[in-house]
C-alpha cells in the first residue's frame, strides 16, 4: 500500500487546487456568458465537479474517507437538481416557447 501513497503524492496538492479553481472559474464565467438555460445548468454541473475534484484530492492526500462520502452526497444532490431543473426547462419551453434565461425575469413580482 505504501507505493500507492507515494504515487498519489507525486502530484502536489496545490496543482489539484489550481485545476479545480480554473474549472470553477470557467463554470462561473460560462453561467454569465450564455443565455441558454440548459447550458447554464451544464455550467453549474461543471462547478459541482470542480468542488468534487477538490474534495477528493484533499481526502486522498489526507487519508480520510469522509471527503469522498461528501462527494457521493454532492453527486446525489446534483442528480436531483438536474431532474427538477430540466423539468423546469421543458415547462418553460412549453409556456413561453424559448429557453432564453432572460425570459425568466417575468417571474419577478
Amino acid at each position: 500500500m505504501n507505493d500507492i501513497v507515494t504515487a498519489i503524492r507525486t502530484v502536489p496538492l496545490e496543482h489539484y487546487v489550481m485545476l479545480s479553481f480554473v474549472l470553477f472559474s470557467i463554470g462561473m464565467a460560462g453561467a454569465m456568458f450564455r443565455r441558454n438555460t440548459i447550458i447554464v445548468l451544464m455550467c453549474l454541473e461543471l462547478m459541482f465537479n470542480s468542488v468534487n475534484l477538490l474534495l477528493t484530492a484533499f481526502s486522498a492526500h489526507h487519508g480520510d474517507p469522509g471527503g469522498q462520502v461528501f462527494v457521493f452526497f454532492i453527486m446525489l444532490v446534483a442528480a436531483a437538481e438536474v431532474t427538477v431543473g430540466l423539468a423546469i426547462v421543458v415547462m418553460m419551453k412549453r409556456n413561453v416557447d424559448s429557453v432564453d434565461i432572460n425570459q425568466l425575469n417575468r417571474m419577478r413580482g
Partner: protein, 180 residues
C-alpha cells in the same frame, strides 16, 4: 503519473472551455462528457476507485443522457440559440478571470496544510468508503432518499401537462375534458 495528471488536466480545461464556447448545445453536451471522463481519470489517479465508477455511471451515464434527451426533445440547435450582447460577454469573461486571479492569489504562498505522516492506503476503495457511508453517515444517506423522492415528485408535477382551466383561453380544455 505526473504526465497523466497534466494530460487529464489539459483535457478537462480545454473541454470545459469548449462547453462554454460551442454554438450548438449538442456539442456542448459532448464536450461536457469528455470533461467528466477526464475528471473520472483524475479520480483514478487519486486512488478513489469507488468515486470514479460512480462518477461515470451517474454523470456520464445518467445526467448527460438526460441533458441530451431534453435537447433533442426541445429540438435546440444553432439557429434557435439565444445570443448575448458583446458587452455582456466581455463582462462575463473579465469577471471570471478576476475571480480566478483572486482564488489563485489566495494560495500563492501554498495552501499551508501538510500531508499526514501516517497514512491508510485503502482510502477510496469500495470497502473504506462503504464502511464510512453506512456507519458514520448513515442518517444523511437515508435522508437523501427522501430528497430523491421529493425531486421525483417535483419533476413529475412540473413535467405533466397543465389541465386546469387557463384564465385567458377559458372553457375549451374544460369542455373537452367533460365530453371525454
Amino acid at each position: 503519473m505526473q504526465i497523466l495528471f497534466y494530460l487529464f488536466a489539459a483535457v478537462s480545461i480545454l473541454s470545459a472551455l469548449f462547453v462554454v464556447a460551442a454554438k450548438n448545445p449538442v456539442n456542448s453536451v459532448i464536450a461536457l462528457i469528455v470533461c467528466f471522463l477526464s475528471i473520472a481519470g483524475h479520480y483514478i489517479l487519486l486512488n478513489a476507485q469507488f468515486l470514479a465508477v460512480v462518477h461515470v455511471i451517474v454523470y456520464t451515464g445518467a445526467i448527460m443522457v438526460l441533458f441530451l434527451f431534453v435537447i433533442m426533445l426541445l429540438n435546440l440547435n444553432k439557429s434557435t440559440e439565444p445570443q448575448k450582447s458583446m458587452a455582456t460577454r466581455i463582462a462575463a469573461v473579465i469577471a471570471g478571470g478576476l475571480f480566478l486571479l483572486t482564488l489563485l492569489g489566495a494560495i500563492k504562498d501554498g495552501i499551508g496544510i501538510a500531508d499526514p505522516d501516517v497514512y491508510d492506503g485503502s482510502v477510496g476503495l469500495v470497502k473504506s468508503v462503504g464502511t464510512s457511508l453506512f456507519t458514520e453517515y448513515l442518517l444523511p444517506f437515508e435522508v437523501s432518499s427522501v430528497l430523491f423522492l421529493s425531486a421525483m415528485i417535483g419533476a413529475v408535477m412540473l413535467g405533466k401537462k397543465d389541465t386546469s382551466p387557463q384564465p385567458l383561453s377559458s372553457g375549451e380544455g374544460q369542455n373537452a375534458a367533460d365530453r371525454a
